[in-house]
Subunit: 341 residues, 2 copies
């Protein structure tokens, strides 16, 4: 019952080279050699090889197999669980990849072979998202899973904005304000109403001029929309404020627009962590929130009161983007406990 390599290879479906390799790395050494130096395998070697093949079929590395087989009492279930987790992860990865490819393929087929350029632009956007968002975040980011229709909507919005810019329309005009409202509503929907996602998205666009170009969102366009959105909200504050108050706010409010998302994100995080409004972290947030308020509304408590009133009574402000009632309540409590304490 002594087998030479070729014979063993034939019977196990491996190649001779593979058996040589196993010999080299010490995974399976033939128990004898012939006078001429031929490898001679005994029954026990064959048995070990069978085990090796079995464990290999689980995707285990040769090194792992070696240590496993040389241990007297291998930690079976631990090893299996590790392998399963590894596989599970790979399956998820590849499935996501395949789905994305399927999407892109549909696009290519339906769209009558768009130019390589367009197709690659979409793809480049997705890989940028990959860099800026974790896999879990990507799962929650509707923009990432967007289909062609949704991208088309964005392109239309951008085109609309470009047209307004071309005509030299003011951000304060009703057309611009209307556009900004729709823009932000869509943006809120496409970030799943999560200010943290919005913030990352902003960071991405700030860092990657190329990303904006993929969609046609130039800096000019996004500045314009931001301005117009500020104007949109200002119209609702108008009748709650005196002329002086409004002038102050009108001057400073637009510059503060980009400061909200980080604060909202932190607010939401505190809420989700279950931090109570009296705790220091919440109070710190409240302080920063008030500081921001003061930057565009001055430090008169009466003015602040008016703004709060507007926020509560104006439907457009009440359903403010990226903020829900729970967040507002929480903020209110934090502010109250701050001023009380």
């Amino acid at each position: 019952m002594l087998l030479r390599v070729g014979e063993l290879a034939r019977r196990t479906g491996l190649t001779v080279r593979t058996l040589h390799h196993y010999d080299d790395i010490g995974l399976l050494k033939p128990s004898t050699r012939s006078d001429a130096g031929y490898r001679l395998y005994r029954r026990q070697d064959v048995a070990r090889l069978h085990r090796i093949q079995a464990l290999r079929s689980l995707g285990m590395s040769l090194a792992d197999i070696g240590t496993l087989l040389d241990q007297p009492s291998p930690p079976l279930s631990t090893v299996i669980e590790r392998q399963m987790r590894l596989l599970e992860h790979q399956i998820v990865q590849k499935t996501q990849l395949r789905d994305r490819l399927a999407n892109l393929h549909r696009q290519v087929v339906n769209g009558e072979e768009p130019a390589m350029d367009d197709w690659l632009k979409t793809l480049e956007l997705m890989t940028m998202y990959d860099r800026y968002f974790s896999p879990e975040e990507l799962d929650r980011l509707p923009l990432y899973q967007a289909d062609n229709a949704r991208w088309a909507e964005w392109k239309d919005l951008v085109k609309e904005a470009e047209a307004l810019l071309q005509q030299g329309t003011s951000p304060a005009s009703s057309e611009a304000r209307d556009l900004a409202m729709r823009w932000m509503a869509k943006l809120e929907r496409d970030t799943a109403g999560d200010p943290a996602l919005l913030e990352k998205l902003n960071a991405m666009h700030a860092n990657e001029p190329d990303a904006q170009e993929q969609l046609g969102i130039s800096t000019r366009v996004s500045d314009f929309v931001m301005q117009a959105f500020a104007e949109y909200k200002l119209t609702f504050y108008r009748r709650y404020l005196s002329d002086a108050e409004f002038d102050l706010m009108r001057e400073n409010y637009p510059q503060c627009m980009h400061e909200w998302p980080p604060l909202m994100a932190r607010l939401r995080q505190l809420l989700e962590q279950g931090t109570r409004p009296e705790e220091p972290a919440a109070q710190q947030l409240a302080r920063e929130w008030l500081a921001l308020l003061q930057r565009f509304a001055g430090d008169d408590p009466a003015t602040h009161q008016k703004i709060r009133q507007a926020n509560e009574q104006e439907p457009a402000l009440k359903d403010s983007t990226w903020m829900n009632d729970r967040m507002k309540d929480y903020l209110g409590q934090a502010v109250a406990s701050l001023t009380a304490g």
Copy 2:
């Protein structure tokens, strides 16, 4: 707008080494170098890198990306489809692997950590199956997807057979015949009634003495069961035949047992291919079938008629293993057209 490697690496999330590598293999060469030899990347280089990253995110190899990007009009959908097929295949593979692992894991957990040996034996069996059956066949092979209960049933059967052998029981005894009947019924179920699978299974067991030992099915045991199954069937033929006919059959029938599966497999294949019974291939099969019949029943047509009668009237023979009515009809037609022609 000239970027050095470090800057480009930071902005793309790659490492400097990766960019060096891309340069080495000619995938992305910086369009300029500084006097000191520093790599300097232009906008167009960055654009190309974005494309590279995009295609990489699809799991494409660097070589493929290179040829793709250097072509003037890349065959987009072909490439995508190829990638998708590749991914699909990997997903299926890994999923099967994970499922198998899950099964094995259950076994380990429920079975109170069986000895590594037992566990590995099961695993070794599965890898042997992998070698002898194609993935599609494995899908159709119930034995392969067997759970512990089913394996336990087989072990019980084997134990039963071993006990009979120990006691020196004759294969012609009623206990042996009953066991053989149950054995074959289970075997038919576990090969999905497909004689082709049965044949491969037989081939595997013939080539791999180790495989038999995993289940405890030694050559002695399988020979015994085969004998007993012949005896089982013979009991039903008994009362249709004269003493002389039966003696002849009794002597030769057992030796012919292992010749049926290949014929049945070919029969089934012809049927599935839609080959008509008058065609040469079917007639050739009919000839071989008759030749086999003659080997254990002689060449008297009257005897053959009696056997056919038994096959039709005896329920135990009628529901003969691995043969269904369509196969029998087809065979009958082939034989008829052979004798008529």
